[in-house]
Amino acid sequence: MAPDLPAWALALAEEKLAEAVPRRWAHAQGVVRRAEAVAPFLGEDGDLLLAVAAVHDLGFAPDAAAIGVGFPAVDAARYLEKLGAPRRLAHLVAHSAYSALEGSLRGFGAEYVDCDDERTPLRDALWYCCLTTGPDGEPMTLEERISEWSVRYAGDAVIARYAELAPPELRAAVARTEERLRVS
């Protein structure tokens, strides 16, 4: 892993999110703060966690959306690959927080054909960091996050479906990460 990857990712996220979508930037910074606490437990993958944490919402940046298909997790991954980011980083972004489920419910399943969900401790840790950080970057529990969706995305039938189907797997990823943080 390139030693400058986290710094590159953070600078990229700031450039693309800070002004255009400040709330996403606040969230991204909160996720990175979480990642900083978790990264030391991941060994070699720690830097990659920091990098993915910074750019996981890059699909909401106008520059990424402009060349995208209309689903932020996929758009972020495509944009990152275009910029030369490692494929593993791009795939982790595409699959962050069970995005493949929401994406395929929205009809973007085909976009996941060349995108792997690696299902490693790093993947779980990314989900953990995203899911325990609120929309403004503040720490939040997963359960608070889940109930927050129904307010923020009221009227979005797919989010409602996702919020109904995803929690077991979200909880499992969070629990596995907490367990790893305990035993490491």
Binding site: A2, P3, D4, L5, P6, A7, W8, L10, A11, L12, E14, E15, K16, A18, A26, Q29, V32, R33, E36, D47, L50, A54, L83, G84, A85, P86, R87, R88, H95, Y98, A100, L101, G103, S104, L105, G109, A110, Y112, V113, D114, C115, D116, D117, E118, R119, T120, R161, L165, P168, E169, A172, R176
Partner: protein
């Protein structure tokens, strides 16, 4: 074109034109050779090749017949071929599976009957109860076979069955047992059964998408490792740096402290 290949094409033309139908018996060898204008030896070789391709079938003491020409039969050779593929082509096989399996699963949700839903559920229960990798692979194959069959398209079924061959699956599970917990995969299998039971094609397809995006990860990973080992000196990615970022308050400490500015 060689004489044998030419004879094969002539036999194929007889079937395509409808002169020979599935289940028909071929003329005795001397007559057929004369009709096609080929030597008896050449005809014999051509027939042998078409038997291998499951187009013809010899019934001992009774003659040579055209088979049913069903997709399952004609495509059965695909299985053999997929098992021969090397790691880098397995990435392609995985992609084809990812394209087809969600579509087949969605189709199955619209065509499956209650009895088959129960069979799928029982296969999953046996997967859950499996104590050996081999048992898991067998039940997993049965789980998917039932769904491919329920999609009601024998061509799709034959192609998918070949892609998800026992060999490939065994290697997937072996890799998974090293890295990831099998429980995750079973969660999605469960979700597929539930979606089938509810006759919900969107959810069935979505669950299949999620399942196959994980099941095949190891193949690409394996290939990446091979490539990376071959290009060890090129392992640091060349990144196109964004324009110098403006500093803002409350940024995470990693950049603020300069801790990770290794470059």
């Amino acid at each position: 074109m060689g004489a044998i290949e030419s004879a094969i094409n002539k036999l194929r033309d007889l079937i395509v034109s409808g002169e020979l139908s599935p289940g028909d018996r071929l003329l005795p060898e001397p007559e057929l050779a004369a009709q096609l204008g080929v030597s008896r030896n050449t005809l014999r070789e051509a027939v042998r090749a078409l038997i291998q391709a499951k187009v013809l079938d010899v019934r001992r003491g009774d003659g040579t017949y055209v088979t049913s020409l069903e997709p399952n039969l004609l495509l059965s050779g695909l299985n053999f071929v997929v098992e021969l593929m090397q790691d880098h082509t397995l990435v392609e096989v995985a992609e084809v599976r990812r394209i087809l399996e969600p579509a087949a699963t969605a189709l199955a949700a619209t065509r499956i009957d209650d009895a088959t839903v129960e069979k799928v559920r029982k296969a999953l229960d046996r997967m859950q109860a499996a104590t050996t990798t081999e048992a898991l692979v067998v039940e997993d194959a049965e789980f998917h076979r039932l769904i491919f069959e329920a999609a009601g398209n024998s061509t799709l079924q034959a192609i998918l069955s070949a892609l998800v061959s026992q060999t490939t699956k065994a290697r997937v599970w072996r890799a998974e047992s090293r890295g990831g917990p099998k429980a995750i995969t079973l969660v999605e299998h469960r979700r597929i059964v539930d979606a089938l039971a509810e006759r919900d094609p969107v959810l069935a397809g979505a669950a299949a998408t999620v399942l196959v995006s994980a099941a095949d990860h190891w193949i690409r990973h394996l290939w990446d490792e091979t490539v990376h080992e071959a290009n060890a000196t090129d392992s640091v990615p060349k990144l196109r740096a964004p324009a110098a970022a403006r500093r803002t308050k409350g940024k995470p400490s990693s950049v603020a402290a300069g801790r990770r500015n290794g470059a």
